[in-house]
Structures are given as structure tokens and as C-alpha cells.
Amino acid sequence: MHLRHLSLTNVRLYARLELPLRAGVIVIQGDNAQGKTSLLEAIHVLATGRGLNSAAGRALIRWDAESESPYPYALLRALVWRRDGEHLLELLLQKGERERLRKEVRIDHVARRNSDLPGQLMTVLFLPNDVALVSGAPSLRREFLDEALAQVEPEYAHALETYAYALTQRNALLRQAAEDRRPIDPDELELWDERLVSAGTMLTLSRHRAILELARAAERAHFELSDGREYLYLAYQPNVHVTHPDTNPQAPLDLLMTPPLPTRQALAEAFYAALRARRREELLRGMTLVGPHRDDLRFLVNGMDLGEYGSRGQQRTAVLALKLAQMEWMQLRSNEPPILLLDEVLAELDPHRRRCLLERIRTAEQVFITTTDLGRLEQPLITDAQRFVVRGGVLQPS
């Protein structure tokens, strides 16, 4: 797939942008803080619909728009070419009263649910600080999984929304009980439990399958990137898991291995059992302690946990391997090549890794590359590329 046109109104630095695009390489050159990253971010938001629930969505609205209207808005529009034809995606974000954010999604001029947006456009985003995916908090890894999965499984995006809703409501209920503000109605708690378990089971199973598939592609990519010296293993650590009948049911998860894929029913039963086991604690602490919002993913190289013991270089290689695997996996799942968004990542790679990445880029349908300096890019890469210069939120062909 590729973008044929991108239009931004009041997005970050961009007051107005109309950008006709072709398949192939697109190079955007500019100094820092001129709008390079914002452009890639806007495309990524249209693809994933993520990060819009909070301050992040409001932050996307151009700051100056505040002074022009009491209810400032940002409008993101993209014309996508896919195997099934051309489609127009529109996302409107508007600040309302009391810090509220109104979101409107339209696909081919028809109003749709927010969770219908992910996957209409598919992207793989490479950022300079991607290494935090390995070394940072588990929430970053969950977000990576959510973004990748929402783009290839429409039901995943819906389940994610349902789960987030049930979790927020259930947490509020538990908190009110913990603070003695109102007693728990057992029927009501059971209702939220059911919602949590049905959506949570779906999320856990989808993540589990995805990691099994991603792990194979990531191992191959990492092997190549490390010149055949290292074996990367991605270990899924689901918060809710089915313990093997032969082992002690209280046994903790093996931290070095993804557990065997459970059936939906076994997983749902394990989820209910875990909720029962921790009910008292949940009521005391006033929050949900069980579920995929506490999942993690570990990066192991030759049996060693990279997040804790890996060198910066190893972590960087692993994260690049993961992104290359994501690219391959998305194409395999959807039969459609994702658009690559590379934000200043080529500059920081050594020649071997850079060659590996460029090799993969050549097969992509559309690639956006940002750089501060055109001289840092290989000549063959930029010869046929569409080139733009960005300054202060204004983009011009170069």
C-alpha cells in the first residue's frame, strides 16, 4: 500500500499541508524541530489510531490554533492506495469544554467508530529512541504489540477498546469500594468481570500468536544483523496464563520462555480463577491486578535478558530486528506491504546494520525517510526519491 495524498490542518507545526505523494522513497530534510517527526507521527496516528485517548491527542492540535478558535481542532486526511482500491481516511480531533477531546473518524466519507480506523493504513515506525522498547517500561512493549496487532486484526482494535473501557469502569468500582464510598454490588462486579475476561482473553491470545510468529522472523533478522553471532528469542509473559497440569498451579511463569498457546476456554477459566484468587487484594487496593494490562515481552539473546543485561549496541540490534520482523509479519498477515516511516534512524547505524536495513527498504512499496543532512544518505537511495525540505511547518519540494 502507499499514500497518494496527505493533508494536515492544524497538526503540530503544520497550519496547513497538502502533500501529493507517489510510491517509492520520500526524503524529508530539515533541521530539528521544524516538523519532520510530526509528519511521520501524523501518518502513524492515522494508521494506528493510538495515543489519542489522553493528552497525546490534544498535544497533536497545533498550539497556535488555540488563539484562533475557542474549540481548536486538528484534521488529518490521507488518500491510501491498497490492493482493494483507493480509500480516503479522515480523523478529526477537536478540543471541547472541560478538557474533553472529540474524535471523529470517517472512511470514504462515512462516519465510523474510532476502532475502525486502525489497519486502514499500515505503518512500521522506526524512531531514534526505539531502544527504549527493550530497556524501558513494560507499557512501551504492550503499546508496541497493541499498535502492531490493531493494524492487522480489526477485532483486536475493538477488543482493545472494550477492554480499556471495562478496566476503567472496574477500577472505579473497586476504588469506590476500597474508599468505602459505596458497597460493591456482586451482580455489578460480575458483569464487569465478564467484560474484562472476554475482551482480555482475546487480547492475550492474539498477542500470544503474534509473538510466536514475530519471534521467528525476529530471530532471523537478528542473526543476520549480528553477523551470525547471536540468537534472539522473544518471550511473551502473559499476566494471565494457563499452568501446566503437572506443575504446581502456583508456579510462576518461566521467564525465559513463551508458555504453550492455551485454548480460549482454558485461558478464560484461568482468568476467572486469577480474579477469584486476588479479589480480596483488589478490593483492598482498589484496582484491577489481573489481566493483559500487566503483560510483558522479554528480549533474550543466547539466553540472557537484554533489557537487564544487554549492551546498548545489543539492545539497538534487537529492536531493529523486531521492527524488521514486524514489517515482514504485517505483510504476511494482510498480504499488503506496510509503509515504512524512518525517523533519523539510518544515521545511527553502523555500516553493516545500515546495509541490512537498506536491503529491506528496497523491497518496500513506500518509505518515508527524514534526515537533517541529505549528504548522510546513499546516492542511489535519493536519486529517484521525492525530496522535500521542511522549515517551520512548511514543506517544499527540493
Binding site: 475557542p70 474549540y71 469544554e97 467508530r113 472494550t162 473501557y165 476503567t168 469502569q169 472496574r170 472505579a172 468500582l173 469506590q176 459505596r182 454490588d185 451482580d187 455489578e188 460480575e190 458483569l191 464487569w192 467484560r195
Partner: protein
Amino acid sequence: MSQPSALPPSVARLIEALVALPGIGPKTASRLAYYLLRAPDEVALRLADALRELKAQTRLCSVCFNITEADPCPLCTDPSRDHSVICVVEEPLDVAALERAKVYRGTYHVLHGVLSPINGVGPDDLKINELIARLRRAEAQGQPVREVILATNPTVEGEMTALLIQRKLAAFNVRITRLARGLPVGGDLEYADEITLSRALEGRQQV
């Protein structure tokens, strides 16, 4: 939103009161306030009277909790209506919408909200205990309720509220139905047209 301090206190007070209403922002509030200020006296006085009477003359019906001037309300005392069927709705405006459609001849039960812990709304805030008491009373009087139609909106909150009521009524020998999915997802009963409403009602399904 800061108002110019030059505003007379009485005008500022009206704007403040209007802004507190749903769907009215500071700009609309100012426009309404200045309209009333310039309009003939009787326009403002008629509004003031209507507001005062709204509070003085109305109460909730002790049977169905709809807004009424007489208790029980005319709908609950109408002998031509089918008292063995209760249609459960979120708000009084939903009753008005269904009555406009003229397709329903049973009685109502108004919840005055939807289940939402984050907004501090629990089962006890939703007249659900009152619904249970109403079913018991009908049973004791030898005129049991045959059917409860759950007509909450097709939003997530509306669905969760319907599921909760379904659970609470499990012990009763009563047919529980849900409006058919003719209504758009996320749509409001209040804004549905009459044809859509009657289709939703006729196509209701046992849950």
C-alpha cells in the same frame, strides 16, 4: 473562560447559570443572556415562570419514575394500557419519543441514567430496586408482569445497564426482551424516528 469584569453582577449570574447547562458554552450563554436583556419584559418573565413551575409543579411518578404533575402519572393510571408490560428506558425524554411513535401500549420504568462507575452511577442510583419492588407488588396483587422490555440506548453504557437489569430480574418468571438492533450503534432512542422505533419495538428479542 474569563468574563469582562465590567459586566453587571445580574448579567454575569445569568451567564454563569446558562453555562452550567448541558450543550451550552460561554459564547452561546452570552448570546442568550443579551437576547433576554433586550427582549420585551414578558419574554424573560414567561421563561422565569416556566422555570419556577417546572420545579414547583413536577415530581417523579412513584410507580414508573417518569416526570409528572400528578402522582401516579396519567400513563400509570390509564386503564386502556397494558400494565403487564414494562418498557425500561434511560430518561423521561425516551418515554416522550416512544409515545410520539404511538406504537407502544404498555407502561414504562424510567432509570434516570445508565450504569457507569467512573461517573459514580451504580445500581442503587438507577431505580432498579424500585423496578424489582414493582414486579413483586404486581405479583402479590395477582396481576404479574409478563414482559420487561429493556429499551436502554445501544451504547456501551446502555448495554451494560440492560445486562445488569437482566441479571437482577433472573429470579422472576418474566419474559425479558431487548429492542431490536434497528437503532444505529451509539444512537439515541430520543432522536430515532418513528418508523425506526416501531421496527425496533416489533423486532424485540428475548434475552
